[in-house]
């Protein structure tokens, strides 16, 4: 497994080029090009602003104002997480021809999917920053130091799950259908469109078992909630867990590697 990992490191140039290709190909032929990466989250933000300030004002506690921005802090990382998993669950099958005919480490494909998702995530950040400034949300500068840590933890977790799911989908095609339903549940089981503090204590116990809860709450604390970042302990715990998920995911992928070319 370590040997395979070293192999991947050797192919980092390929990974970088494939991510670039992924982004290039996605916007090829569209007039706005990369601008779409900004437009999507921007529109989303506008819609939420409309719904929660015009249609449903006062449906949430006042400390979560502006609520649209609060939600945006969670939706942006969630989109990265869920789209990466959905896409990587099918990436090996759609690239089946490549795996059957060319010798290269197949884990490159789910990794590229996750990284391309992270680029979209990063492209959404300027929008988020602009709105944070616009609403004059008081961001604690030292909190921002935690931001890359949160991103890194999420990246590790997403990579681990992506590797696991991509290899399993080759053998069980219904993983992707299972996954899309599971992700809907997972979305509502994560405090994105509500705050963890609004949740009754017993239910909160359950939500605390969800690693995405801690990640999303960390984003909210770093970017939105005033005051210093206090949740570093659960974050680091999730970080350790994510590392474990990554190792398990990679291990499973490595074990199934030889069957991929025959099964896709």
């Amino acid at each position: 497994m370590l040997l395979s990992l070293r192999h991947v490191v050797r192919y980092r140039g390929l990974v970088a080029s494939l991510v670039a290709r992924e982004l290039k190909a996605r916007y090829r032929g569209s007039v706005l090009g990369f601008f779409w990466s900004f437009v999507n989250p921007l529109l989303l933000l506008l819609v939420y602003t409309f719904v929660f300030t015009v249609v449903l004002p006062g449906a949430h506690p006042s400390e979560l104002e502006p609520f649209a921005l609060f939600m945006f802090c969670g939706i942006l990382p969630w989109t990265w997480f869920s789209s990466s998993l959905l896409e990587s669950s099918t990436v090996l099958i759609t690239s089946g021809n490549l795996i059957r005919k060319v010798l290269f480490p197949a884990e490159v494909l789910p990794i590229v999917t996750v990284l391309a998702g992270s680029v979209h995530f990063c492209l959404g950040l300027p929008i988020l920053a602009a709105f944070l400034l616009y609403y004059r949300v008081p961001v604690t500068p030292t909190d921002l130091l935690w931001f890359p840590v949160v991103v890194l933890v999420q990246l590790t977790l997403t990579l681990g799950l992506a590797l696991l799911l991509s290899a399993l989908t080759v053998h069980f095609r219904d993983v992707r259908d299972l996954l899309s339903n599971l992700l809907t549940l997972w979305f509502f089981g994560t405090p994105i469109i509500y705050a963890l503090s609004q949740v009754p204590p017993q239910v909160r116990q359950i939500l605390n078992l969800n690693p995405m809860t801690h990640l999303v709450v960390s984003y909210q604390e770093v970017l939105f909630t005033p005051g210093p970042f206090t949740r570093w302990l659960p974050l680091l715990a999730v970080g350790a867990g994510s590392l474990f998920v990554f190792i398990v995911g990679y291990f499973v992928f490595d074990r199934l590697r030889d069957t991929l070319a025959e099964e896709v």
Partner: protein
Amino acid sequence: MNAIDVQDVRKTYRRYGRRRQFATLKSALLSGGALRDLRPDETFDALKGVSFGIAAGSTFGIVGRNGSGKSSLLKLVAGIGRPTSGTVVVRGRVSALIELGAGFHPEISGRDNVYINGMMLGLTRREMAARFDAIVSFAELEDFIDAPVKTYSSGMYMRLGFAVAIHVDPDVLLVDEVLAVGDEAFTHKCLDKFAEFRRRGRTVLLVTHSLDLVTRFCDQALWLDGGLVRMQGDPRRIIDAYLLDVAGAEGRALAATASDAASREGVGRAASAAATDEPSDMSKAVEGRWGSKEVEIVAVDLLARDRQPAHLFRSGDPVEIRLRLRAHRHVTDLVVGVGIFNADGVCCYGTNTHIEGATSAEMSGDGEVSFAIDRLDLVDGTYKVDVAVHRTNGVPYDYHRLLYTLRVVSSSKETGIFRPPHRWDFSGGITIVGVGSSRNGATQDPTRS
């Protein structure tokens, strides 16, 4: 030092039955144990214990019928998939021309695809930058390299794929039937590139149906048959044996149809009930049998050198046509004739005892006639044999028209009908290498030995 070592390699593919096709994670979990359900219903052995070694710097050809396991073997050597048992060791960087342009993304430019394809094959971006111009000029795509690959013609696509793969500059190049990618000129360029590879001491493993390519390029050849090594060694010897075997399979099929025809016509039966009528126009005659049956041809055998019945002969081999005759009454007017016709119906040779000067003949009871040809100097092809017994004036006792088939194989594909023993000699300022005398022992000019 071998560049490639293959030790007792087996490869078993899973063949899933109907049940497995519709099995899902759910059913796997319900039926208890996802892992157990991963076991296949049926297996298929593509390779059944193959061993060989390829010396570094040599060009090695693998031939075999469809489904003999060639491509499976090549994939294992390429490292795509692992053998079920046994080991494959490859020393040095491998590049596999298995499917050209696999992994090209249609939406992005040729330039980007070249880089990505090269990096997939294991080069760094810098190495690719150094090779880029050579690749583009080799593929002859200077004007189109910045256009998206989806706008390329299939020939352009293949050329670009080939150019990238060959410029990876591998120590071991694996080629699977991909040389038919361009026009004549491009094919020549590819072959020149292979020749350059050989000169630089790189190893090439070639899987192909183009036997000509194997004899021209390879130092060694291997014949894979049904997942096993049938033969390995000198390419010419392997190709000849392979051709003979392929022709042999055809010959067996011919023999089956011939014996069908013969039994349909009642040949071999002691007493034939009905005879077909003699056709009015012999030139339009199709296969058949007719005659008065006062003298009957009860059996016809084509015998090879070892006096065993055969249908397949090499050009230049001896052939014996043996007839068993039965006279139902004493006859004093008897001519025995033999004719050989090619697939176009042209009579290649025909003779009978009367033409050759027999002065008198008589027969009663049973007897055997043997017509021996010392050298069957015919070109490659399928031939039909006529045999007949008749009166001097041509009235047939028993005429067997085109009922017997013989297949002549020759390693060279000359045209025409007759293949005289021959040799080429060159003197003065002419050097032509590779021809000289007929190659194989059977067709060697006897006056030279």
